[in-house]
């Protein structure tokens, strides 16, 4: 193991240009993937924010007793899909309208706006079907006059989300595959550069495990270094964009670590694959 470690480090010292080149290549292909990830992440959180505004508003008929309405609010709160229910009284509705539409202040008169029950749904229960379902359940109370939930809008949003998910998956897979192919070929170059060493090792009776070990370590370290550089570049990009253009969201610590782990894993598996292929070809 110590020898494998030494040989792996030696290969960086003996071929600094090639090592730097392959780390840079790995870094940039992971950087491209990271950038895509950032875009996807921010798009998703933007969509989620819009989605969180999906709301059902049920208008309460005039003259309904306050206790009947609040009993209904209690019931609705216990629906599994519901995140939050609020009862907006006539007075509150008027107050809100005055605030939101200040310039028409004098138009509003007491009693012009009905009381309403506002229902916000939990994440994951915001598909058009689910929204309609809850709305229908609400409409069964006889004191409910009218229900609005922006049917068309909800459906459009949902379609957008589906498209974004699919496009994201397809692009993400492509980016990942391209990085793996590029990383794989730089590793194959590293293996070929050391073909004479492998040949001597085989000749003098080194075991397969012994021959592979330095390459696996080398691949792991290169992948990890590439991942760190890529993450650093992504952060610089994110910070620059944040200052100049738009405040965005960055990867969480967990996601960042996962990215580094993926880089290391690609390096490791890429090396294993390349060395095995090489050994199979010469053996």
């Amino acid at each position: 193991m110590r020898l494998a470690l030494r040989e792996a480090l030696l290969s960086f010292r003996r071929a600094p240009m090639l090592s730097a080149l392959s780390i840079t290549t790995i870094a940039f292909s992971l950087f491209a993937f990271d950038l895509f990830g950032l875009v996807a992440l921010n798009l998703r959180s933007a969509l989620r924010q819009v989605e969180s505004r999906v709301e059902i508003r049920a208008f309460v008929a005039e003259g309904t007793r306050a206790d009947a309405a609040s009993a209904a609010v209690g019931d609705v709160q216990s629906f599994p899909e519901v995140e939050r229910v609020t009862l907006v009284s006539e007075a509150e509705a008027l107050e809100r309208a005055r605030q939101e539409l200040g310039e028409f202040e004098d138009v509003f008169d007491a009693g012009i706006l009905p009381a309403s029950i506002e229902v916000r749904l939990r994440e994951g229960f915001r598909t058009p079907d689910q929204v309609r379902e809850v709305a229908e359940r609400l409409s069964k109370y006889d004191f409910i006059d009218d229900i609005r939930y922006g049917e068309e809008w909800v459906e459009k949003l949902y379609r957008l989300r589906t498209i974004a998910t699919f496009v994201g998956l397809a692009l993400g897979t492509t980016f990942a595959l391209v990085s793996i192919i590029i990383i794989g070929s730089t590793i194959r170059m590293a293996v070929l550069a050391r073909a004479p060493e492998i040949q001597v090792m085989r000749l003098v009776g080194a075991t397969r495990g012994f021959i592979r070990a330095p390459f696996l370590i080398e691949g792991l370290v290169k992948g990890l270094l590439g991942g760190i550089i890529a993450l650093g570049l992504s952060f610089v990009t994110y910070a620059t964009l944040g200052r100049l253009v738009i405040q965005a969201e960055f990867f969480s610590v967990g996601h960042s670590l996962l990215g580094l782990l993926a880089g290391a894993l690609i390096g490791f598996l890429g090396s294993a694959y390349s060395v095995d292929r090489h050994l199979r070809r010469v053996a």
């Binding site: 004479p196 000749l203 003098v204 009776g205 397969r208 012994f210 053996a283």
Partner: protein, 239 residues
């Protein structure tokens, strides 16, 4: 003496129907010095490759130090190779390592205890008379010296058989002679040597057993004198 290498009706065919060896049978004994001659493409290299299991026979059996090509698993190949030393026409030294490092490499990658590496390297360097060049890199050495390093590397694991594939092919006459002398010396110390060469002058300079190949067939096997004690006398010929 027990046979160390036994070829039994060995045929080796390469893809596209090229037959490198055709029903070749012979044995090599412990401590024997044997020449393998014949024109290029006669199958000399194939025989060496079959012995150190770089290749497997198409049919027939190759038995080396008790291991049969029929039953040998890939896992056992490294173990077998540690008992063999191999040198080539092109030396195959690692250019970015010194003489001593090149030799030590063979011990390191076979898991030798680090403490025993240096003394062993020094011992073989002395044996090939290169102690003074221990820290030189291959490009600073002459061809003959590079081949000595390669031989030292092949010897450092104490092989019972040294395989040499045209070891003098890249050398001038004088260096070639000195390499042959070195191989004879190694043989006298008890290591069997199988040397493939098409340099008939070298072959004639000794009285060792000679196997001659032609178009993949063994056409000549003569001079089966016990080596070590009586052989190696320059100028002698037993044919």
């Amino acid at each position: 003496m027990s046979a160390m290498v036994r070829f039994t009706r060995v045929t080796k065919q390469y893809p596209k129907g090229v037959t490198a060896l055709d029903e070749v049978s012979f044995t090599l004994d412990r401590g024997e010095f044997t020449f393998l001659t014949g024109p290029s493409g006669a199958g000399k290299s194939s025989i060496l490759k079959l012995i150190f299991v770089e290749e497997r026979p198409t049919s027939g059996e190759v038995k080396v130090i008790g291991q049969s090509s029929v039953t040998l698993t890939p896992k056992k190949i490294p173990v077998l190779r540690r008992k063999l030393g191999v040198v080539f026409q092109d030396f195959r030294l690692l250019p970015d390592r010194t003489t001593a490092e090149n030799i030590a490499f063979a011990l390191e990658v076979t898991g030798a205890p680090p403490k025993r590496i240096d003394p062993k390297v020094m011992r073989v360097l002395e044996q090939v008379d290169l102690l003074a060049k221990a820290d030189a890199r291959p490009h600073e050495l002459s061809g003959g010296e590079q081949q000595r390093v390669a031989i030292a590397r092949a010897l450092v694991n104490d092989p019972v058989l040294l395989l040499a594939d045209e070891p003098t092919g890249n050398l001038d006459e004088r260096s070639a002679r000195s390499i042959l002398d070195l191989l004879c010396e190694i043989n006298r110390a008890g290591t069997a040597v199988l040397m493939a060469t098409h340099d008939l002058d070298l072959v004639r300079a000794t009285s060792f057993r000679t196997l001659e190949l032609h178009h993949g067939r063994l056409v000549f096997d003569a001079g089966t004198m016990a080596s070590g004690a009586t052989a190696g006398v320059p100028g002698g010929s037993s044919t």
